[in-house]
């Protein structure tokens, strides 16, 4: 049998069911990988004791024939999900040492299905970033490097630690959250699969809030099938999140196991052909369409006329919501406190010292666009543009079933690049943000390596609450691409 850490989630659950390995052995093998690759800085908190305790409980359930869907599967959790009794930081100094007294709904769903937590992964502070460079706990290193070039590359962001941990075979799957591309872009940079579900599919309860109308938890894994299995367990209506959809959870795994896309109409949005996209990615995009066509799909050219406005509109909506959500960090009830001569100074000192540069910048943008006299010019305008973007997608889906686009305009870049000008960094998310603004599900699938040996991914976007069609198309793309890439040394 292959090394336990090389197995996919589907293979692991099968090996555990057949008693070819125990959950404790599986946990130990993955914990050894965490030790081996600690220099990647993928984790903020490792939880080996908890992992072994959960694995022992899994072995007991396996022995009794009471295994859950993810029994004994080691997972890494983005440090934005509150985990009872385990420090949850959102990669911010302001939450360092915060120990939640409750468990997020999504992680509770995972544990109820038998999954085993190995630790909490690093991210951009409060999930604001596309490089993982804004973490208070330092950047994450991408396991991939350019051929013949030893420079460290970013894993993407904001869920960079979760993506790097899966790409480095420290875990077979992990959780992320996606507000404007924070699952899909790191998945593309790290050569793995990452899925942002439809807004409302997974509960946001217990997830540290960034922009509440956009935030959505989702899974990372190395295969489409594993991603589907994680999604199935993570999803479901939660009365504690009023935006969580009261819909039944389909068998996503069955959809992912059925790559039959004959007759499926795949839309190619012409507005996604933009300057600044690498030539290789443009070529990859056509190649991806050829693959789907060969599998029986029919390409359809579609138009999403407001695409270019999604990014600037997002940079009003997301900071506005962030400035409201982050008002709770005041040094009074939890987190950092920096004293001051009165209460106002305590707030200002705490927030000034506790938030990093990018978080402060977004709070200021948000406060400005919501301030008296500017609300209509900025926030209302952005919400109107959001309505137009959603309408574009709705019209496009009248003539196609899924959309195929690049995930990111480039492959992973070097740590420290694109840091001089915030807008340059924001442009990384130009292909992922439109679907976020419309609340639609999207998945990034690794397709090939570029000339430097770095992974490149393509994004599929689906109709609202139609992750099944999305997963079928993703499975077909995965099968045709036969990516199989693995970072050297991992």
């Amino acid at each position: 049998m292959a090394a336990l850490t090389d197995l996919t989630i589907a293979q692991l659950t099968s090996a555990l069911a057949k008693k070819e390995a125990s959950a404790v052995e599986v946990a130990d093998a993955h914990l050894a990988k965490l030790d081996e690759h600690r220099t990647l800085n993928a984790f903020i908190t490792e939880t080996p004791d908890k992992a072994r305790e959960m694995a022992r409980a899994s072995d007991a359930r396996l022995a009794k024939g009471e295994a859950g869907l993810l029994e004994g599967v080691p997972l890494a959790i983005k440090d934005l999900f509150c985990t009872e009794g385990v420090q949850t930081t959102a990669a911010s100094k302001i939450l360092e040492g915060f120990v939640p007294q409750y468990e997020s709904t999504v992680t509770a769903n995972l544990w109820r299905s038998g999954a085993v937590m190995v630790g909490k992964t690093n991210l951009d502070e409060f999930a604001m970033g596309s490089s993982n460079m804004t973490s208070h706990f330092g950047g994450v290193e991408n396991p991939w490097k350019r051929r013949g070039d030893n420079r460290k590359l970013v894993p993407g962001g904001s869920s960079g630690g979760s993506a790097a941990a899966v790409a480095a075979y420290m875990v077979p799957g992990s959780t992320g959250t996606d507000t404007g591309g924070s699952i899909r872009q790191p998945a593309a940079f790290c050569g793995i699969v990452g899925l942002k579900p439809t807004y409302g599919r997974c509960s946001r309860w217990g997830v540290v809030a960034f922009a509440s109308s956009l935030d959505q938890p989702g899974p990372f894994a190395r295969t489409v099938e594993d991603t589907a299995l994680l999604l199935r367990v993570m999803s479901g209506h939660d009365p504690k999140d009023s935006t969580s959809a009261p819909l039944p959870v389909p068998d996503f795994t069955a959809a992912a196991r059925n790559p039959d896309i004959r007759g499926m109409k795949v839309g190619i949005p012409k507005e996604y052909r933009v300057d600044g996209t690498s030539e290789e990615i443009v070529t990859l995009w056509s190649k991806g369409m050829e693959m789907l066509k060969a599998a029986g799909a029919e390409p359809v050219e579609v138009s999403l006329p407001h695409t270019k406005y999604a990014l600037p509109a997002y940079y009003i909506v997301a900071p506005a919501e962030c400035s409201s959500n982050l008002a709770r960090y005041d040094g009074v009830r939890f987190g950092l406190r920096v004293p001051g001569k009165d209460l106002t100074e305590l707030y200002e000192n705490t927030r000034g010292a506790g938030f990093g540069k990018e978080t402060r910048r977004r709070i200021l943008i948000g406060t400005y666009v919501l301030s008296a006299g500017y609300y209509d010019a900025y926030y209302k305008k952005a919400q109107q543009i959001r309505a137009l973007i959603a309408r574009d997608f709705k019209q496009a889906f009248e003539t196609c079933d899924v959309l195929l686009t690049p995930t990111a305009p480039t492959a992973a870049f070097a740590a420290g690049d694109k840091m001089d000008d915030p807008v340059t960094m924001y442009l990384n998310d130009m292909f992922t943000i439109p679907a976020s603004m419309a609340g639609l599900p999207g998945i990034s699938v690794p397709v090939s390596l570029d000339k430097d040996g770095l992974p490149l991914g393509l994004q599929l976007i689906g109709r609202s609450f139609d992750e099944e069609t999305l997963l079928r198309a993703a499975a077909a793309l995965e099968k045709a691409a036969a990516f199989g890439g693995r970072a050297a040394g991992y």
């Binding site: 009365p239 406005y309 600037p312 009074v332 009830r333 200002e348 301030s371 309505a387 915030p422 603004m437």
Partner: protein, 105 residues
């Protein structure tokens, strides 16, 4: 749209965010750059477009207005900066307080 130092200082004050004097000018430059880029939204005619505040079609659900938990004061206060003050240290769930600097003279 260009923001000056004074505007940045004003919004920092509104956001209760201490920004050191020397960072105001560079921040004003960065924020002006971002807002100049955002200006392109004015190219779009949004007359008669209903603003979209949520992508969800679901009407917010109603629930009975009744208490569903309680008696967890110790957990509520567990992360209090500098520690909480309990009414009865022997029974932390009996209630307690977060502490703040004196606000009433």
């Amino acid at each position: 749209m260009s923001l000056d130092k004074e505007t940045v200082a004003r919004i920092a004050r509104l956001a209760r965010l201490k920004v050191p004097e020397e960072e105001l000018a560079p921040l004003a430059g960065e924020l002006s750059g971002i807002f100049a880029w955002i200006e392109q939204l004015n190219e779009v005619d949004t007359n008669n477009v209903e603003p979209m505040s949520s992508v969800s079609d679901v009407t917010l659900p109603m629930r009975a207005d009744k208490v569903t938990d309680g008696g967890i004061a110790a957990r509520v206060l567990a992360n209090a900066p500098g520690g909480a003050v309990y009414i009865d240290p022997a029974d932390k769930n009996a209630g307690g307080f977060f502490s703040v600097p004196k606000v009433v003279e």
